[in-house]
Symmetry: C2
Subunit: 718 residues, 2 copies
């Protein structure tokens, strides 16, 4: 256990006063917080340490919302697709949506703000070919037989989606549905600012105003049966209104179209290659959101309080890795740590004084129940978080939910104590110094670049999907690796690759924003990357890197990668791929390699490849040389300790710097090492729940053999 | 055993005279043939029965070829892709090809007949930006740095690829490489006709001239190491020459481009959606090939002999299911029977007097060897062939290879006797009547339609590939099912679907000719199909039916199919697919369903679907209703007796005619029934090597319960 305390936030509740005080003492916590569904007891306001209070700007004031219905928040939604079986067609736009969540906006002129699309041709149906029947809330379209149509329209968000989610999940009754109001609009803006001032005055004991969050909820839409219909944590669909869109038109210099938001019904999923117009809209929203958020933060500061932002819920437009975030002037960001990747999404944020991670499990009845394993979850969560903290430390950690559940679970508080102890020990040993990293940077190349740092291939972050885990593994591995990682977009390739970057990774499925789709038709992109590798750079592809069918290739960088994917067209061409697994990348690797879903039908080609792993006649791991450079192809790379090691080796190989790898190195793939040269220490962590033996190398020489306890973290002087 | 004899062709060889006569007697064969590598003994020319002689029009005459080097056959080939690392680039077109097979054509002006392509931009490099260095046989290009280039060029085929293949496979030495000459060209045409006349005169005892084949070999190209480089059984790359192409230009009315043939290096694989120009070229070649072939057939007929064509080797341009084939005036077609599909490729041919199938195994040392199982292969081949013969009979069967191998293998001749006996029995019982089929037709929809009948999803027919067996299974099932099958192309949809067709099947991978790719962007195609199903038609999709990303959908008929494929863009959309396997399609189905490679990431959507089979959260078998019509989706459908039954049920379900299915029906999925109403008989076949019990239904009523021997064929009076 460490000697220092603090850096820890605990949740509390109205009936937990004594227990809170006991735990605060035991765990040496220095902050208390209320949560959704819990309340801060008056009695605790007086204790030492900081008091956090959640603050909602857009809801919990139905009176205001009902008085100002035109300033209720709005969302662009698309009707279901309906096929015309005749030359007239009626579509009920709200069909499939939950009418207690969304209410069709008939206040603003539909002809100005809606769009009827012929989805068979992709053409807009002219406004003189459709009418709104206000009586039935239907759209009547002059249709072409057997064409499919949709109506894009505005709807008021008459029930805050997060409130609704909590209401349903917790079976609340007799709680009024919370309406949402749009702080961006003129009357509400004035009102909300005044209200915040009042609140600050009325709550002198609160030290930290924890905004949850600012103005625009991420896209969260329910269906007729009150089930989630679609949810995009990165989505801007609910950040619109005619008021905002008219401003956007002035700023952008072109006419807004609903299609920019509904995006064929994909709602600008982060997997879509973003259109220029959607990027413009994100830019515009960041400018406006950051300005208005700053006003609120200034108010908080004027009362001597800190302003903290929760990275979630109404975070839309804040974009912590965007150009405007620092302008807000926040003191802190707090977010949920689901794994190493989501930790880095918080700990890498600049422009705040400190970051705080809420560790798992959340103290909710779903985990703290028979058959649940809260201790195991806490351990797994911590092992993923710990290796990321060593590379990019959070300043604080915390927990959320019902404290009573945690205290009643035998052994759980002991586990928390271990976590908190190790967290503090890291800060103590490291003492603000930086972890040693490879003498080059790795760039993750996708359409989003740094704006969506550590968000690649994520669906509502840290949620497992069969379609993504084989790619998310790449950044989960990297989140705790001794490598400086940049997230770059295709314009950064076009404008000249940062000379610090020595290895570029492109990972994901074809057609998605993560691999880049039509960007690979741009000769500037492919020639710059060829030049980069030819001159000694490294390129790592995972899944369908550089994929778009064009001029005889599917992977446009197949010449660099040494592989392409068989789509049927070259089945007539003989492949003579044979396995040759002797390679630097596979030294130390003892177990079968896990490629996850492992993209199929990959074959090696050209004259410079080496196939390290095959599945029947297909290849799953291939290296290639190209001029002075090298590439590595993976069919997939889910997170595992072994895959971390394979990726580490692949990166050093691709960089042509194998000799540098053992500057600080541990032989057992279940262990990792971090070196803090300025602190004179290295740390070895055991990422498994078994004891592990490992040799520690420093500057290429065997320093010591270590016997590690399960999950142990061991500090060694250098 | 049947009472009738004949209908059987046996191979022979110079040293097999007595053995041939013994077997001819034992098996009651009525024809003898020579093969590649064997010779017809003089002594056998006098025996009763027909004598076949293989005849080669394009080779076995090096003297002629060497005297007329400009009339040696040519092939369009594409150089390897080379990336320019500077503003000048040298490409050696022949690199990677086997110089003893192909010789670069510098006789015809490269600037007229070659094409240098910038594969990065897809643009043609103007002829003033490159030169041929005749000395080094290189092309020197003014290049853009880091662009990829190819050279498309003509090469002479100085070693017949089939001769070369046999030469290498059989380790021949001291055999001169056979040059090829182009019968289409003027001098050679005259010469070949005269030679054929002479040959007919010199071989009065030969009854059947077995052309192997006419003029143009399918694409078969070797690499530097004498290995197969690419082989396209359907390929036209080796049917070109400036002489032919100038005629083509006149006929087509536009300038020829090498790209029409090399096709980005895909060589117009049958999996490619064929370009208009390639289709034109196929049309032109058919017209010219059929005219010239007729001349040769007329010569054969003038000597009182029959003309038979081997469906293989130089079959290019004959297209047995094309418009011009019947004009040739052939007496017969013979081809290799690898399975039910390849049998139907022969037995469905119209415009000849009879068809003959060469059954497997071929009497070659690769099978007749320790570890080989020629009897098992003969049984498996026959079980697949038999069910197809019941639907579309061959007139004759035969064998090929070294007779000595077959006679020495214990029990093999007994197995042949069984096969031959059953084959004759079918003819005897059926007596020329047609098998009962469903009261509607099924249409297989792809880009090739009837021109490539029974060739869908095939790579060099009857060769197993991991990428195709899950689709080939569809037509292999159909080849022996009591269903009339049409192969239709997208123009037939555009022009109005044949009213006899009640169910349409679209099966294959996205982007291929088998599913249709950009045809699905054509509103005419999708609206005609919607109308077809809405009015009661059925649609069956396998793999990626109607796939092309457009306007929010990947499967353009997802409204009909009730499913779409997840490409990542709709991961944010919740799916609530649940299993509901109670369905007409799955009655009688007892074992796990085999979906083969089973396309992944399929989800059901809409309001009218039923999910019959799932793999975790993905769907593999889904039905849907659309207006008065129905659809069925399969993730894949490899051939198996059980999958035949599932497909049969799916077809009757899609047609909305479940009640008709049991007109003739057997309950055990390992058995099938064929009804010959005009002959007053049904036949039940056991498609397994185990005994099977099965109930036979006639007109919906249980007629009899049958105990079937392994592989038995049982005839029952009705
Ligand atoms: Mg939340
Ligand atoms: Mg280990
Ligand atoms: Mg052959």
């Amino acid at each position: 256990m460490s000697k220092i305390g603090g850096r820890l936030t605990l949740p509390t509740d109205i009936d937990m006063i004594d227990e809170t005080l006991r735990l605060k003492e035991l765990l040496d916590a220095d902050a208390l917080r209320d949560c959704d569904g819990t309340n801060m007891p008056e009695e605790l306001l007086e204790c030492d340490g900081k008091i956090y209070a959640t603050y909602y700007t857009t809801r919990k004031d139905n009176e205001w919302a009902e008085k100002n219905p035109e300033e209720i928040q709005q969302e662009y939604v698309m009707s279901e697709r309906v096929t015309a079986k005749d030359t007239a067609l009626r579509i009920k736009p709200m069909k499939g949506f939950y009418t207690e969540q969304l209410k069709i906006n008939l206040l603003d002129d539909p002809k100005r703000w809606w769009e009827v699309m012929d989805r068979t041709t992709g053409e807009i149906v002219p406004t003189d070919k459709w009418e709104v029947d206000a009586e039935t809330e239907e759209v009547v379209i002059q249709s072409v037989k057997y064409h499919e149509y949709t109506v894009s329209f505005l709807a008021f968000i008459i029930w805050d989606p997060v409130h609704m989610y909590n209401f349903i999940t917790n079976d609340w009754t007799d709680v009024p549905h919370q309406l949402t109001f749009d702080v961006r609009q003129p009357k509400t803006q004035v009102y909300v600012k005044e209200k915040l001032k009042r609140w600050c005055e009325e709550n002198p004991k609160v030290n930290v105003v924890r905004f949850t969050t600012f103005f625009h909820q991420f896209t969260l839409t329910f269906d007729e049966q009150k089930r989630e219909k679609y949810v995009e944590w990165f989505g801007y669909s609910a950040s619109v209104s005619p008021y905002i869109l008219e401003q956007f038109e002035k700023w952008a210099g072109y006419k807004f179209r609903p299609e920019f938001i509904v995006d064929q019904g994909y709602h600008n999923s982060i997997f879509r290659v973003p259109s220029k117009e959607f990027r413009d809209f994100i830019e515009f929203q960041q400018i406006e959101v950051s300005k208005l958020a700053k006003d609120l933060v200034d108010i908080v500061h004027s009362y001597g309080k800190e302003a903290m932002m929760f990275l979630g819920d109404h975070w839309i437009g804040t974009e912590p890795f965007g150009k405007y975030f620092a302008n807000i002037g926040l003191d802190a960001v707090v977010g949920s740590v689901g794994d190493g990747v989501t930790l880095r999404m918080i700990s890498d944020i600049k422009g705040v004084k400190y970051t705080e991670g809420r560790l798992l499990p959340y103290f909710f009845p779903d985990v703290f129940t028979e058959g649940g394993d809260p201790i195991g979850e806490a351990q797994d969560n911590w092992m993923k978080a710990r290796r990321a903290i060593l590379r990019s430390p959070l300043d604080r950690i915390g927990y959320g939910g019902y404290l009573s559940l945690a205290t009643k679970w035998p052994g759980f508080i002991d586990q928390i104590q271990k976590v908190v102890g190790e967290f503090r020990q890291i800060h103590e040993e490291v003492n603000g110094t930086k972890c040693h990293t490879a003498p080059f940077k790795v760039g993750i190349l996708n359409c989003w670049g740094n704006l969506r740092r550590w968000m690649a291939n994520q669906v509502h972050h840290a949620i497992w999907h069969r379609e993504i885990y084989s790619y998310v593994g790449v950044i989960e591995c990297l989140s705790g690796m001794p490598i400086d990682v940049e997230f770059i977009d295709f314009d950064e390739v076009r404008n000249g690759i940062d000379p610090d970057i020595k290895v570029i990774i492109n990972a994901g499925d074809a057609m998605t924003s993560w691999t880049g789709h039509e960007n690979w038709l741009d000769e500037t992109v492919v020639t710059k990357l060829r030049e980069f590798v030819d001159n000694g750079g490294g390129f790592i592809g995972v899944g369908e890197p550089s994929a778009i069918q064009h001029q005889g290739k599917f992977f446009q960088l197949s010449d660099i990668l040494g592989v392409d994917r068989e789509l049927g067209f070259s089945l007539i061409t003989d492949k003579y791929n044979t396995l040759d697994p002797e390679h630097f990348i596979l030294e130390d690797i003892e177990n079968e390699i896990d490629f996850g879903e492992g993209k199929s039908s990959i074959y090696a080609q050209g004259e410079n490849y080496q196939v390290l792993n095959m599945d029947q006649k297909y290849c799953r791991l291939v290296t290639n040389t190209y001029g002075k450079g090298r590439s590595v192809y993976f069919a997939g790379l889910p997170y595992s300790p072994q895959n971390c090691r394979i990726l580490l080796r692949a990166i050093y190989y691709a960089a042509g710097m194998e000799d540098e790898m053992k500057k600080y190195y541990v032989t057992n793939v279940d262990t990792e090492v971090g070196a803090f040269e300025d602190a004179g220490k290295v740390v070895v962590i055991n990422n498994s729940k078994d004891p592990q033996k490992t040799d520690l190398y420093i500057k290429g020489e065997l320093k010591v053999s270590l016997d590690m306890e399960p999950m142990e973290m061991r500090w060694v002087e250098i």
